[in-house]
Amino acid sequence: MTIAITTYLIYLAISIALTVWVARTLHKNGRVFLVDVFHGNEALADSVNHLLVVGFYLINFGYVSLALKLGYAVDDAQKGIEALSVKVGMVLIVLGAMHFFNLFIFSRMRRRKSVHSNQPPIGPDAFTTVQEA
Protein backbone atom coordinates (compact mmCIF):
# COMPACT_ATOMS: atom_id res chain seq x y z
CA MET A 1 0.00 0.00 0.00
CA THR A 2 1.50 3.34 -1.03
CA ILE A 3 1.66 6.32 1.31
CA ALA A 4 -0.97 8.13 -0.80
CA ILE A 5 -3.47 5.29 -0.42
CA THR A 6 -2.80 5.13 3.32
CA THR A 7 -3.37 8.89 3.56
CA TYR A 8 -6.69 8.56 1.72
CA LEU A 9 -7.87 5.72 3.94
CA ILE A 10 -6.98 7.55 7.16
CA TYR A 11 -8.65 10.69 5.79
CA LEU A 12 -11.84 8.76 5.05
CA ALA A 13 -11.86 7.04 8.43
CA ILE A 14 -11.39 10.30 10.36
CA SER A 15 -13.92 12.25 8.25
CA ILE A 16 -16.62 9.60 8.46
CA ALA A 17 -16.13 9.16 12.21
CA LEU A 18 -16.32 12.94 12.78
CA THR A 19 -19.42 13.33 10.61
CA VAL A 20 -21.21 10.51 12.39
CA TRP A 21 -20.26 11.92 15.79
CA VAL A 22 -21.47 15.45 14.98
CA ALA A 23 -24.68 14.15 13.40
CA ARG A 24 -25.46 12.02 16.45
CA THR A 25 -24.79 14.96 18.77
CA LEU A 26 -27.15 17.12 16.72
CA HIS A 27 -29.77 14.40 16.61
CA LYS A 28 -29.65 13.79 20.35
CA ASN A 29 -29.58 17.40 21.53
CA GLY A 30 -31.68 19.01 18.81
CA ARG A 31 -34.69 16.93 19.71
CA VAL A 32 -35.45 18.95 22.86
CA PHE A 33 -35.57 22.17 20.80
CA LEU A 34 -37.85 20.67 18.19
CA VAL A 35 -40.28 19.19 20.71
CA ASP A 36 -40.57 22.67 22.22
CA VAL A 37 -41.03 24.31 18.81
CA PHE A 38 -43.78 21.90 17.81
CA HIS A 39 -45.71 22.38 21.07
CA GLY A 40 -44.83 18.94 22.45
CA ASN A 41 -45.74 17.10 19.23
CA GLU A 42 -43.00 14.47 19.58
CA ALA A 43 -43.81 12.55 16.42
CA LEU A 44 -43.42 15.67 14.27
CA ALA A 45 -40.27 16.71 16.16
CA ASP A 46 -38.67 13.30 15.62
CA SER A 47 -39.58 13.38 11.95
CA VAL A 48 -38.09 16.85 11.36
CA ASN A 49 -35.04 15.92 13.44
CA HIS A 50 -34.43 12.86 11.31
CA LEU A 51 -34.84 14.80 8.07
CA LEU A 52 -32.35 17.43 9.26
CA VAL A 53 -29.79 14.74 10.12
CA VAL A 54 -30.23 13.10 6.70
CA GLY A 55 -29.51 16.46 5.02
CA PHE A 56 -26.51 16.93 7.29
CA TYR A 57 -25.08 13.52 6.32
CA LEU A 58 -25.66 14.11 2.61
CA ILE A 59 -23.90 17.48 2.57
CA ASN A 60 -20.97 16.35 4.68
CA PHE A 61 -20.33 13.06 2.95
CA GLY A 62 -20.70 14.85 -0.36
CA TYR A 63 -18.02 17.32 0.69
CA VAL A 64 -15.73 14.60 2.08
CA SER A 65 -16.04 12.69 -1.16
CA LEU A 66 -15.41 15.73 -3.39
CA ALA A 67 -12.42 16.85 -1.33
CA LEU A 68 -10.72 13.45 -1.32
CA LYS A 69 -8.37 13.97 -4.26
CA LEU A 70 -4.97 15.39 -3.27
CA GLY A 71 -3.75 16.52 -6.70
CA TYR A 72 -0.06 16.16 -5.87
CA ALA A 73 2.29 13.28 -5.14
CA VAL A 74 2.81 12.13 -1.55
CA ASP A 75 6.35 10.79 -1.42
CA ASP A 76 6.97 10.26 2.27
CA ALA A 77 5.19 10.01 5.61
CA GLN A 78 5.73 13.71 6.43
CA LYS A 79 4.00 14.82 3.22
CA GLY A 80 1.22 12.34 3.97
CA ILE A 81 0.60 13.70 7.45
CA GLU A 82 0.65 17.29 6.17
CA ALA A 83 -1.84 16.49 3.42
CA LEU A 84 -4.01 14.69 5.96
CA SER A 85 -4.02 17.66 8.35
CA VAL A 86 -5.11 20.05 5.57
CA LYS A 87 -7.92 17.74 4.44
CA VAL A 88 -9.17 16.93 7.92
CA GLY A 89 -8.97 20.61 8.87
CA MET A 90 -11.23 21.50 5.94
CA VAL A 91 -13.70 18.79 6.89
CA LEU A 92 -13.74 20.10 10.47
CA ILE A 93 -14.45 23.65 9.32
CA VAL A 94 -17.26 22.50 7.01
CA LEU A 95 -18.71 20.40 9.84
CA GLY A 96 -18.51 23.38 12.18
CA ALA A 97 -20.25 25.66 9.68
CA MET A 98 -22.98 23.08 9.11
CA HIS A 99 -23.37 22.64 12.83
CA PHE A 100 -23.86 26.35 13.44
CA PHE A 101 -26.22 26.53 10.49
CA ASN A 102 -28.32 23.81 12.12
CA LEU A 103 -28.28 25.64 15.44
CA PHE A 104 -29.36 28.78 13.58
CA ILE A 105 -32.33 26.89 12.11
CA PHE A 106 -33.30 25.57 15.55
CA SER A 107 -33.14 29.00 17.16
CA ARG A 108 -35.10 30.56 14.29
CA MET A 109 -37.84 27.98 14.71
CA ARG A 110 -37.94 28.68 18.41
CA ARG A 111 -38.13 32.43 17.88
CA ARG A 112 -40.94 32.01 15.40
CA LYS A 113 -42.88 30.11 18.02
CA SER A 114 -42.25 32.65 20.78
CA VAL A 115 -43.42 35.43 18.45
CA HIS A 116 -46.89 33.93 18.60
CA SER A 117 -47.34 35.18 22.13
CA ASN A 118 -50.43 37.03 23.17
CA GLN A 119 -48.61 40.21 24.10
CA PRO A 120 -49.65 43.11 21.81
CA PRO A 121 -46.70 44.77 20.06
CA ILE A 122 -47.47 48.21 21.55
CA GLY A 123 -49.32 49.79 24.45
CA PRO A 124 -52.68 51.56 24.02
CA ASP A 125 -53.15 55.34 23.75
CA ALA A 126 -56.06 55.44 26.18
CA PHE A 127 -58.84 53.44 27.81
CA THR A 128 -62.57 53.84 27.30
CA THR A 129 -65.66 52.17 28.66
CA VAL A 130 -67.29 49.53 26.48
CA GLN A 131 -71.08 49.42 26.35
CA GLU A 132 -72.03 45.94 25.19
CA ALA A 133 -74.84 46.13 22.67
Binding site: V115, H116, P121, P124, A126, F127, T128, T129, V130
Partner: protein, 121 residues
Protein backbone atom coordinates in the same frame (compact mmCIF):
# COMPACT_ATOMS: atom_id res chain seq x y z
CA UNK B 1 -57.71 40.07 24.60
CA UNK B 2 -60.21 38.13 22.48
CA UNK B 3 -61.54 40.72 20.04
CA UNK B 4 -60.69 44.07 18.48
CA UNK B 5 -63.23 46.54 17.16
CA UNK B 6 -61.99 48.45 14.14
CA UNK B 7 -63.56 51.88 13.69
CA UNK B 8 -63.00 52.52 9.99
CA UNK B 9 -63.93 55.26 7.55
CA UNK B 10 -66.77 53.98 5.41
CA UNK B 11 -66.53 57.02 3.16
CA UNK B 12 -63.16 56.01 1.75
CA UNK B 13 -62.70 53.47 -1.03
CA UNK B 14 -59.26 52.43 0.14
CA UNK B 15 -60.61 51.68 3.63
CA UNK B 16 -63.50 49.62 2.27
CA UNK B 17 -61.06 47.67 0.10
CA UNK B 18 -58.84 47.09 3.15
CA UNK B 19 -61.90 45.98 5.09
CA UNK B 20 -62.74 43.37 2.44
CA UNK B 21 -59.17 42.11 2.38
CA UNK B 22 -59.05 41.84 6.19
CA UNK B 23 -62.33 39.93 6.26
CA UNK B 24 -60.71 37.15 4.22
CA UNK B 25 -57.54 36.82 6.31
CA UNK B 26 -57.07 34.16 8.95
CA UNK B 27 -57.05 35.77 12.39
CA UNK B 28 -55.64 35.09 15.84
CA UNK B 29 -57.88 37.74 17.37
CA UNK B 30 -61.44 38.40 16.24
CA UNK B 31 -61.91 41.65 14.30
CA UNK B 32 -65.25 43.50 14.36
CA UNK B 33 -65.78 46.33 11.91
CA UNK B 34 -67.88 49.35 12.85
CA UNK B 35 -68.02 52.53 10.71
CA UNK B 36 -66.40 55.37 12.66
CA UNK B 37 -68.63 58.00 14.32
CA UNK B 38 -71.68 55.91 13.45
CA UNK B 39 -74.70 55.39 15.70
CA UNK B 40 -73.39 51.93 16.55
CA UNK B 41 -69.92 53.24 17.45
CA UNK B 42 -71.37 56.00 19.68
CA UNK B 43 -73.60 53.51 21.47
CA UNK B 44 -70.73 51.11 22.02
CA UNK B 45 -68.18 53.68 23.23
CA UNK B 46 -70.08 56.58 24.85
CA UNK B 47 -66.92 58.17 26.25
CA UNK B 48 -64.82 58.06 23.09
CA UNK B 49 -63.98 61.22 21.13
CA UNK B 50 -65.73 60.24 17.89
CA UNK B 51 -64.60 63.30 15.92
CA UNK B 52 -61.04 62.09 16.42
CA UNK B 53 -61.88 58.61 15.08
CA UNK B 54 -62.85 60.22 11.77
CA UNK B 55 -59.31 61.56 11.37
CA UNK B 56 -57.45 58.26 11.61
CA UNK B 57 -58.03 54.56 12.06
CA UNK B 58 -59.01 53.63 15.62
CA UNK B 59 -59.05 50.19 17.20
CA UNK B 60 -60.65 49.39 20.56
CA UNK B 61 -60.02 46.09 22.32
CA UNK B 62 -62.72 44.17 24.19
CA UNK B 63 -61.23 45.42 27.47
CA UNK B 64 -61.45 49.08 26.41
CA UNK B 65 -57.86 49.77 25.34
CA UNK B 66 -57.86 52.40 22.57
CA UNK B 67 -55.25 52.35 19.80
CA UNK B 68 -55.16 55.33 17.47
CA UNK B 69 -53.46 55.90 14.09
CA UNK B 70 -50.26 53.88 13.49
CA UNK B 71 -50.85 51.91 16.69
CA UNK B 72 -54.25 50.87 15.38
CA UNK B 73 -52.68 49.64 12.14
CA UNK B 74 -50.13 47.61 14.09
CA UNK B 75 -52.87 46.06 16.21
CA UNK B 76 -54.82 45.03 13.11
CA UNK B 77 -51.67 43.48 11.67
CA UNK B 78 -51.04 41.73 14.97
CA UNK B 79 -54.51 40.17 14.83
CA UNK B 80 -53.68 38.38 11.57
CA UNK B 81 -52.11 34.92 11.70
CA UNK B 82 -49.74 35.55 8.82
CA UNK B 83 -48.67 39.06 9.82
CA UNK B 84 -48.19 38.90 13.57
CA UNK B 85 -44.42 38.61 13.08
CA UNK B 86 -44.54 41.80 11.03
CA UNK B 87 -46.43 43.68 13.71
CA UNK B 88 -43.64 42.93 16.19
CA UNK B 89 -40.97 43.79 13.65
CA UNK B 90 -42.57 47.12 12.72
CA UNK B 91 -43.07 47.99 16.39
CA UNK B 92 -39.38 47.65 17.31
CA UNK B 93 -37.74 50.93 18.41
CA UNK B 94 -35.66 50.95 15.20
CA UNK B 95 -38.62 50.68 12.83
CA UNK B 96 -41.45 52.33 14.77
CA UNK B 97 -40.67 55.94 13.69
CA UNK B 98 -40.65 54.92 10.01
CA UNK B 99 -43.81 52.87 10.46
CA UNK B 100 -45.55 55.89 12.00
CA UNK B 101 -44.45 58.19 9.20
CA UNK B 102 -45.52 55.86 6.41
CA UNK B 103 -48.85 55.08 8.03
CA UNK B 104 -49.61 58.77 8.64
CA UNK B 105 -48.91 59.65 5.02
CA UNK B 106 -51.21 56.88 3.78
CA UNK B 107 -53.91 57.82 6.27
CA UNK B 108 -53.89 61.52 5.50
CA UNK B 109 -54.00 60.92 1.76
CA UNK B 110 -56.44 58.02 1.78
CA UNK B 111 -59.09 59.72 -0.39
CA UNK B 112 -56.54 60.76 -3.04
CA UNK B 113 -54.89 57.34 -2.94
CA UNK B 114 -58.26 55.67 -3.36
CA UNK B 115 -59.03 57.86 -6.36
CA UNK B 116 -55.65 57.17 -7.94
CA UNK B 117 -56.17 53.45 -7.44
CA UNK B 118 -59.55 53.74 -9.15
CA UNK B 119 -61.62 53.03 -6.06
CA UNK B 120 -64.72 55.20 -5.83
CA UNK B 121 -65.24 57.29 -2.73
Amino acid sequence: MQALTVLYDQECGLCRRAHNWLAEQSKLVELNFVPCASEDARKRYPQLNHDLTKKDLTVVSDNGAVYFGPKAWLMVLWALTQYRDWAYRLATPELLPTTKKVVSVISQNRYQLGRVAGLSR
